[in-house]
Amino acid sequence: MQPTFSSSRILLPVRPWFIFLSLIFAAVLNFLPTANWPGMPDWVALVLCFWSVREFRRVGMGWGFMLGLLMDVADGAVLGQHCFAYVLLAYTASSLSRRILWFPLAQQALQIMPLLIGTQVVQALMRLAVGADFPGWGYFIGPVVATLLWIPATFILLLPQYRPVDQDPNRPI
């Protein structure tokens, strides 16, 4: 697979344990005390979205559901709130995958933004529908920051798959 479909660079196949580790690491980032700062992105949503776009055969709605359950318990939210949002995110990301990967990174980020904002809006609507308090507009800055982080996140999460630029032509395989 290439970094984008228009690129001529071929990547190594992804390692399943790296996907697993990155998702767990994203969850731990969400557990940090910094998560209460205004404008902090939902790391799990970002990484889940990334892998749903790139590897929709490996990471999909099942992962979204389990991670959602984890985040619900960790946040003290109503069970099912993150599940619902993450499952929707994984579904839309994987169904848009073949289109998104044709674009350069900046335009990919623009296409990702509505998905990430949608994740947040869905959660807010679910909670407001059952009588919770409006959390303030700062709640919707997070996904915008996450959109900006799409470019560095792509670079970091694809790092283990890059092969060296100058390859040895005499190598047997």
Binding site: L69, V73, G76, V78, L79, G80, C83, G131
Partner: protein, 308 residues
């Protein structure tokens, strides 16, 4: 044709259709959302997930608490000495009251016995440390470091050195979740100290509280202290809850809008005291008896009227 009954190669297998999976997962998510919210019957699932998540969360919180610890450590001798002096001073100013408190309580007990009134319940509980605030931006909750292992149960009130902080709403094996009194629609039954009037105070979700359903001409002044009334069987009577800061009397509405701020350091980190559950209140008198009596009375009246 031998080749026809071969299964297709495994790389065409994609499992169930994505739309079917989506429908399934969404149905399950919505089902657990409703069940958790309306029936509160998924606590076992929550507790078992928390058993895995809780240690990770505590580890993730350590850098922050280390920074706090370091800043406190480096605070310096001067400020500590100043604080120590202030505490000594405060202790001295409260000493006369405190020294007579034991005497007064004994006297109160004796008088209550003379009056044949049941004795006042003593407050006791366990001190627990606030670990972190729950990240859910839609509610105001904190997590403390004592749980089922220490015998905490849902419903116990929590106080700090100044007043009521909140109420335990969920219990995990090693931690418990306290919903703060400022959480939206968290209710505390209170009494106005100055007038003795009873009411309930509701959290507004923005750090303030509102005293609802008080008539527009109610005798409430800015600065009035609200304490727990003890009518609910959860909070012991007499703990300070809030202070009135703003009153809007609008003749268009039948109720005054009365805003209060909590007295306890509700949004601060620190330690709280989780009070033991109260002794059960005596049973309420059966309502049906009273209603039956009145309806009988009405019937009697009607009969009489018919006779007349």
């Amino acid at each position: 044709m031998a080749g026809m009954d071969h299964a297709p190669p495994p790389f065409f297998k994609r499992g169930p259709a994505p739309l079917a999976l989506l429908t399934f997962y969404i149905a399950v998510s919505l089902a657990i959302f409703v069940f958790d919210l309306r029936f509160k019957s998924l606590d076992l699932l929550r507790q078992s997930i928390a058993l895995v998540v809780d240690p990770v969360q505590r580890v993730a919180q350590t850098p922050g608490s280390l920074v706090d610890y370091a800043s406190q450590y480096l605070q310096g001798m001067h400020s500590l000495r100043q604080e120590n002096d202030e505490l000594k001073h405060a202790k001295l100013t409260t000493a006369p009251d405190l020294q007579r408190l034991a005497h007064l309580e004994a006297e109160n007990d004796r008088l209550r016995k003379l009056l044949a009134v049941t004795e006042r319940e003593k407050a006791n509980g366990q001190v627990s440390q606030i670990l972190y605030t729950a990240r859910d931006p839609f509610s105001r909750k904190v997590i403390v470091d004592k749980g089922q292992q220490s015998g905490i149960t849902a419903g116990q009130p929590a106080i700090d050195e100044a007043g009521v902080v909140g109420q335990v709403t969920r219990v995990f094996p090693f931690s418990a979740e306290i919903t703060l009194i400022t959480d939206k629609d968290q209710v505390v039954p209170v009494q106005v100290v100055r007038t003795g009037q009873r009411s309930v105070v509701f959290g507004l979700g923005n750090g303030q509280l509102e005293l609802r359903y008080m008539p527009a001409n109610a005798d409430i002044q800015i600065g009035d202290l609200l304490v727990t009334s003890g009518l609910d069987g959860i909070y012991l009577p007499g703990f300070p809850v809030a202070k009135v800061v703003n009153i809007e009397r609008d003749s268009a509405y039948s109720f005054a809008r009365i805003f209060c701020v909590p007295i306890a350091g509700v949004e601060n980190f620190g330690e709280v005291m989780v009070l033991s559950p109260r002794q059960a209140l005596p049973e309420r008198p059966p309502e049906t008896a009273g209603r039956a009596a009145t309806s009988d009375g009405q019937r009697v009246k009607k009969k009489r009227m018919v006779k007349n």
